[in-house]
């Protein structure tokens, strides 16, 4: 059941992020990027198995012997921490960049930025 809810949430987040990414307003695009990367993080966390488990459900324990305690998967949590930090830095950079777009072009509308290559 919780797996189903989690799948729904991840799907909804990706849908929302994609929708925002396709907007003309650059701030919404940055929101979209942030939401997509957060959705990827939730997905990544779910990939370790969402319930306490032993060797048969926790990926890193699979195939490494049977005598291990019940635990959540520690690896995905370490991965997600790294991904969150990277995503945070990238979002901050994208926000600063959109501010610079506003300073230089007096608009945040992507379609008004012109097509100069």
């Amino acid at each position: 059941m919780s797996a189903f809810v989690l799948a729904l949430v991840v799907g909804a987040l990706f849908a929302l992020g994609t929708f925002l990414l396709l907007r003309r307003d650059l701030i919404r695009v940055v929101w979209g990027l942030a939401i997509v990367s957060q959705a990827a993080n939730v997905y990544l966390l779910a990939m370790g198995g969402i319930e306490l488990g032993g060797f048969e459900t926790v990926p890193i324990l699979a195939g490494h012997g049977e005598g291990v305690p019940e635990t959540t998967d520690p690896v995905v949590q370490a991965l997600v921490l790294t991904a969150i930090v990277i995503g945070f830095g990238m979002t901050a950079f994208a926000l600063v960049l959109s501010y610079r777009v506003y300073e230089e072009h007096d608009t945040l509308d992507a379609s008004e930025l012109g097509d100069r290559e």
């Binding site: 959540t72 994208a94 992507a110």
Partner: protein, 588 residues
Amino acid sequence: MALQTLSPGAESTLVIAPMLIVLVAAVGTLLLGTRPRARAGVSLAGGAAYLVAVAAIDWYVVLAPDAPGAATYQVGGLPAPFGITLVADGLSAFMLTMVGVIGVASLVFSIRVLPELDRRSYYFPLFHFLALGVTGAFLTGDLFNLFVWFEVMLMVSYIFVAYYGGPQHTRAAFWYVALNLLASAVFLLGVGGIYATTGTLNMADLARRLAAPAAYGIDPGPVVGLLGLLLSVFAIKAGLVPFQFWIPTAYRAAPPPITALLAGATKKVGIYAIIRLSFTVFADAQIGVDLAIPAVGTILAGDSPLAFIGAVLFVMGTASILVGGLGAVGRDSLEGVLAYSSIGQVGFIAVPVAIAATTTVPDVRHIAIVAALVYALNHALAKGMLFLAVGAVRTATGTSRLADLGGLASRSPPLAGAFFIGSLALVGIPPLSGFFGKFLVFDAAAQAGSMSVLVLLLAGSLLTIAYVTRAWNRSFWGQRTPAVDDAVTDPVQVAVLLALAVTIVAVGIGFEPIYRFADAAATAALDTDGYIDAVDPNQTVSGADGGNVDAGAGAGEGGGGGETGMGTEPETEPGTGTINTSNGGDTP
């Protein structure tokens, strides 16, 4: 020349040396703040040390008569597959050498082209961080770590594209950032899925598990789709059609020495990742599912996902050759021509990789990988040099628009000569490096027996001749324009260009050792067992036995969190971090 063997363990240290050197150079230049001369000095010293370290890896790990072929460094002393493993084998060493040469040339060039820009910003630290990301991506043996190095590389390239671009390029920079952030999320999806499917992120461990899925109790079916996700991410980095659209604007926005590095080095990271994952990691995978599309037929039969990768890459590669070639013919600036040209040239690298993936003959696969690597080397040298030449033209004349240029050949013969040699290398005239690249690619296509591929490659080569001739005629021959009349070339920049031109000629004339190196790199790329053996000597594909050897060490990471909640006595043995596997888990 020190030819004696290194002491045991020294090779392992050698593996991490290039990364440490660029890191020290990056931090050093950062600390030096507003002293441009000291910064330039530290940068150059770092570049030289990098070349020495890479040459040492080349010799002691790959090329020496008694070289081991691969060396590893376990970061933090954690054993594979639980820690991050750095692996320097033939393929990594080849790529590092390529990046080292073009990187140092572009570094020397930068010192003359950007003096006042560096004073306002952090050009040299960023340059070294870019090199750090590229180096890390080539050396890492861990899938998630590869993601991290990609991000290091990308973060820096965002700044180069956005900061140095100016107002007219801010929009391009924004879309470049947005595209790559999206690609990073897709990369994470692929990595997460592969982890959930196989239970490991270590590339060697991954290869071992995929080759014998039943022994590890995993169902590797989803891996094909996940590999498709990763392939699209790498194709974005390499700029293959249909992911080529960011290249022209981003290459124009970045300063010329960085564009040389983007085309010469970061593009090759995409190619490297495709080769490494497809051949070293996934080649022996036993997928055990058939994929069929109605009206197309079976696209994947049985075991290896290589057939699927090969088909996709083939379409991407040929489309890149045509789109890049046709696009380059119509551009109105030198950068535009070269940017589209590099889309086409990456197609020439992707097509032999696709041939290698689809063929079942080991010899053809080998020669195709060699062809891709030699072509990549030629592209890094020639295209890198041409982008630097455009930088020199811009320094001299203030423009790179074809309409404003003309008669440069009479104004600065050395600059024109360097550009000419670079152009000929792109076209593939003997005895330059490009000739062997093109020759091997055609040879691989002929050996694979594919007539249509040969025709497409030929069409691409003709397009190359067309756009190179056009760029040359418009900017170097003809009437001198006012901008060219007032041109003053920078002697150091021209010297760098000439040095690269000599390198291109030397690679062509003394091709035999280069071929041996590329041959060793291709062997390493295809030698899954050797790779696994280097990373984790206890187990190879043939010796897969469920992986119980390392069970305790892996559980030790998770045990710390789990044991307190479970009320059992601490299972972690002091000091070692391993779990006594006989009494864990069963206690209620």
